[in-house]
Symmetry: C2
Subunit: 303 residues, 2 copies
Amino acid sequence: MAIREPEIITGKEEMRKWSRTMRAEGKTIGLVPTMGYLHQGHISLIKEARNHADLIVVSIYVNPGQFSPNEDLSTYPSDFSGDIHKLMSVPGGVDVVFHPHNLYDYGKIEVEVEDERERREKGQVVSCLEERRLGHETWVRVENLEKGLCGKSRPIFFRGVATVVAKLFNIVEPDVAVFGKKDYQQWRIIRRMVRDLDFGVKVIGADLVREDDGLAMSSRNVHLSPEERNKALAVYRSLSQAKSAAGNGQLNCRVLIDMVVQAINEAGGKTDYAEIVDQENLEAVEEINSPVVFCVAAWFGKF
Amino acid sequence: MAIREPEIITGKEEMRKWSRTMRAEGKTIGLVPTMGYLHQGHISLIKEARNHADLIVVSIYVNPGQFSPNEDLSTYPSDFSGDIHKLMSVPGGVDVVFHPHNLYDYGKIEVEVEDERERREKGQVVSCLEERRLGHETWVRVENLEKGLCGKSRPIFFRGVATVVAKLFNIVEPDVAVFGKKDYQQWRIIRRMVRDLDFGVKVIGADLVREDDGLAMSSRNVHLSPEERNKALAVYRSLSQAKSAAGNGQLNCRVLIDMVVQAINEAGGKTDYAEIVDQENLEAVEEINSPVVFCVAAWFGKF
């Protein structure tokens, strides 16, 4: 297995230039957007991307645009050198890690002065963009899909996700991008955004990857104590029970949801939501008679 | 002067394919988005685009996404064959006219059925997307700049403009796009969107073009009777007076605005708004001591 170090690019213009150069050479580019602190779930996304593109760009960027002030932006785990190390072990390797410092820093603002007698452009450094209302103010909204599930308790979350993904698509200009279905609503939102805004990017969903004991892999799992982690297995266990109950003919969603919520409660967790929704429009269904997905978010540990 | 007919492309995929082929050959592409019924103002945008790109795409599409139900979508003037004729007379010509039928028709929806035993994708024709909430629902909002001026009386207008321009950028993938400063707020919004979403497109503003008598060229001028048209000259006349008053030291915006509003009233027009705003953030200023622009919208004729 060849081990090679990915090229690390931090600048937007440099990133786009790399992509355009590669595309001009006929290469296709696959993008895997991440917030770092990589685990096997991310690696599976990268392997999936390898199936669809010649070159792989992994972005590592904790996007402040999707965190509310009361959320865990400051404690989001990170380990950049560990991430690079993990990426070097991916079969086929990763070509570029795009690791921008701040995607919302637009630095110098061009101020155009209009005057018929003297028309000129002058550059001007604006020390604080917000003072003159020159800060970031453009947001992509996927207006229905963003509302339910995670969007209920995190009202600006998907606005931030859709916007940063649009930015990454415009900077990296990939042919293909891979997202995990662990974040099912996010995956549906990105697909819808790509369709509605006609991005020339193919979006691929990759399956959730679980630890051996059944816990869905997630960077935030690091916050769980061994005991909390053990309790959190109630999510997978109860979901599996609900799935097999549905397979045996229990199609009433209320009954299935109660099974899961009760199991999470009994394990000492707090359910943010537990809903059975249509796979495409994410609307809650009462009885299963079309493709659905059971979406659960729950807190274990400090909450 | 070479006279050549532009290639007419109606499909999104065909359009993108053309652009990518040309770019792979090292050509740069300039886009001039229009709603058709072209006049010399549009032609000046195309000439400007010619200064910045090897190949020119003019899009002709009346975007329903920016019209409210009570607005003039159904009466917006159109003359496609006349437009093509005009484009043939542009020095250097136009390479492609992108003329889609409906940019919001996503046709067949891919429905993915999730099942661990039987994972497959199946295609399904959805006759009415709205029924299953599968219609267009992604919108780009430039949240501050969209609010004032035209945005006050047309609350969804700039949401629609920003969204369709994002779509056109993603379909045509131009290097450069030219917008008229006649629609000053639109121009600022598009520039901000491009900066904030990191589109790899350079946005160029082209000056307003006036008829010999001073009326700003606009496709909607066709709705004016000769008498109404004559009255509408009050806009340019009073703006010129305000400009020269400012040049002579009258920097109080209230005084300058009153001059213009009064002149429009006296000519029998109805002012939608008349504001002197900062050129960059479009906020109203009370006294002129930085680069400003005087923005006016007024109705003449039926209102």
